[in-house]
Symmetry: C2
Subunit: 205 residues, 2 copies
C-alpha cells in the first residue's frame, strides 16, 4: 500500500519543476516557495504543493523549499540522479543534431551511439560517433543494457524500427517521426514531431 499510483500528468510536470529549480540554483538562490516556483513555470502554487507532496514532505512551513534538497529529491524520483545511455536511430540532420546535443549530459543522459540502415552512412564519422549498422542494434542494446532510444527515422520506417527497439529491450522511446507507433504497454513513448507541434498552435492564429 506504499506504492500509490502517481498520475502521469504529475510525473510530466516534475521535469519542468526540476529545470526551473536548477535554473534558480545556478542563479545562486537557496530557497524558494510554491508561489515563486509557480510563477517561473506558469503553474498554480497549490498545484505545485500538491504535486510535490505526493512524494513526501519536502518543504517547511514559513520558509518554503530548499532548492538543493528539492533538486536532489526530484532527480531521485525521476531516476535522473544517474546517467542513462541513449541511442539515436536515424542519422539524418535531426539525428546528427541530437547525437551532438550538449544539453543531455547534465540532465542524466549520454548518447551511446547512432544507428542507420543506409550503407552509405554506416561507418561514417559524425563528431565522436561512427554511424553504426542498425543490424547490430539488438546486440548493442542487450550488451550495454540500454533502455532509452531516440527515433529520428522516416515515418515509413518508424513502426519497424520501434519493433526492433522493443525486441532489443528498449523501454523508453522519444519519437521524432511524424507517425503514431504501437508499442507494448510496458514501453513508454513520447512524441515530438516538429510539424505536429506547430499545428497545435496555428488554430489560435
Amino acid at each position: 500500500m506504499n506504492a500509490k499510483k502517481i498520475p502521469d500528468i504529475i510525473i510530466g510536470r516534475l521535469p519542468v519543476y526540476l529545470r526551473a529549480l536548477q535554473h534558480m540554483a545556478d542563479a545562486g538562490l537557496k530557497t524558494t516557495s510554491s508561489q515563486e516556483l509557480g510563477e517561473h513555470v506558469g503553474i498554480s502554487a497549490a498545484q505545485i504543493r500538491k504535486d510535490i507532496s505526493q512524494f513526501g514532505e519536502f518543504g517547511k512551513q514559513g520558509t518554503g523549499y530548499s532548492i538543493e534538497f528539492l533538486i536532489n529529491k526530484l532527480r531521485e524520483i525521476l531516476k535522473v540522479d544517474q546517467s542513462w545511455d541513449v541511442i539515436v536511430i536515424g542519422a539524418g540532420d535531426l539525428g546528427h543534431a541530437l547525437a551532438h546535443y550538449q544539453g543531455f549530459k547534465n540532465r542524466g543522459f549520454r548518447v551511446a551511439g547512432i544507428f542507420d540502415n543506409d550503407k552509405n552512412k554506416i561507418g561514417q564519422t559524425i563528431g565522436d560517433f561512427v554511424i553504426e549498422d542498425i543490424a547490430t542494434l539488438n546486440d548493442r542494446v542487450k550488451a550495454q543494457n540500454i533502455k532509452i532510444a531516440i527515433m529520428t527515422v522516416p515515418a515509413a520506417a518508424a513502426q519497424e524500427v520501434a519493433d526492433k527497439l522493443v525486441q532489443a529491450g528498449i523501454k523508453s522511446i522519444l519519437n521524432y517521426a511524424p507517425v503514431n507507433v504501437n508499442v507494448p504497454s510496458n514501453v513508454k513513448i513520447q512524441y515530438s514531431d516538429p510539424a505536429t507541434n506547430l499545428q497545435r498552435m496555428t488554430y489560435y492564429l
Copy 2:
C-alpha cells in the same frame, strides 16, 4: 454564441488525428470510423467522436467518416489549409536540422529564414539559406507578416530572443531551449526540450 470555447486539450489532439488520417489516405483508404481511428492513435472512439463533433457533424451513421472530407475539415479548423512562413532562431545543429526539415512542406509550413547573433555564422550558407543577423529579425517579421518562430537558442538567450519575437509580432513559438519563457497571453508557446522529454519517461524505468 457561436464561438464556444474549445478546450486546448482537444485542439492538441486534432493534429494527431490529422496525421493519422493523412496516413490512411496515403494508404488508399476512403472512409474510417471513430473506432478505427481510435485504434491508430490510441484514443477511445467516444472521445474521438466527441472531439470531432465540437466542430460540426462530419460523419454519417452507419458508415463513419470520409477520410478526405475529414482531412479537409481538420486542415481548415487548424488553419493549415495554407502555408505559414516560419523562422528559425539559432543556427546551431538543431536549428540547421529544423531549417532543412522536409516534413514541414506538406503540413502547412515553409521555413522562411534562419537567424543567429554570432558574427561568424551570419552570412554563411546552409542549404538554401543564408544565416541572417538577428538584428534584422524585427524588420523581416514585420515586412513578411510572419507569425511563427522556432527557437533553438541557448537557454541563457531564450527569454531575450522570445521578447524580440513577441515585439516583432510573432504569435506562436516552438521552443527547443531548455528553459521556461514568459510571453504575453496572446502568444502561444510549445516546449520541446529534448532532455525534458526524456526525463518524462525515466520515472517508469
